[in-house]
């Protein structure tokens, strides 16, 4: 299955891209995707513990099971205001 991954803020600088498509196996979790992304973009590893994960407009945890077509977002801690 295919998901779209968006990188925001500092993560876009770390990966050098704002959006990519990623192929996963059916039943893969957000954690599997995150590991796969860290393998592809090693600079994400340093931010591993400070990574926020969202599917659509909701925060999700690493055990969230992804579905084909999901819009995933990865970003560093937020800092509005």
């Amino acid at each position: 299955m295919l998901v779209t991954v968006h990188f925001y803020s500092y993560f876009r600088e770390l990966t050098g891209c704002g959006e990519i498509n990623e192929t996963l196996h059916s039943g893969d979790t957000l954690g599997v995707l995150h590991d796969q992304l860290m393998a592809r973009f090693p600079r994400l590893v340093t931010m591993r513990k400070s990574t926020l994960l969202a599917v659509g407009v909701e925060y999700q945890t690493r055990d969230y099971v992804l579905r084909d077509g999901d819009e995933v977002s990865l970003f560093p801690p937020v800092q509005g205001g």
Binding site: H6, Y8, S9, Y10, L52, A54, G56, V57, E58, Y59, S73, F75, P76, V78, Q79, G80, G81
Partner: protein, 133 residues
Amino acid sequence: MECRMKKQLTITTETINETDLIATRTMSVGMGAVVSFLGVVRGIEEGKAISAIDYEAFEKMAQHQFNLLFEEMAKRWPIESVRLVHRIGVVKINEPSLWVEIVTPHRGEAFAACQWLIDEMKRVVPIWKKTID
């Protein structure tokens, strides 16, 4: 109380105009307190002089997360109105990036709700800052 709370959220690249915001405030006869917060870009960040901050938002999610916070506020406090404006894009020093206003019957709940909203915003609303030298 919850369903009647007025919520007004603006995420914008335009300048925040406090005078216009005040002119459009409505307040019913049972309300006694208005607490407002204005967040302004400082000329120094982490000990270093800057000229502006560039705010980036994941806007659709930011709106959703702000609305979740507003719903939670309506459950916690007897709020008649919450209005929030967050500027995105480049905001020069001395210009406001955030304006929040809470209208309630008494001051305690207005101060509590206003501080809670800003604290929670900084925890969950996907907006980021990048300083410009």
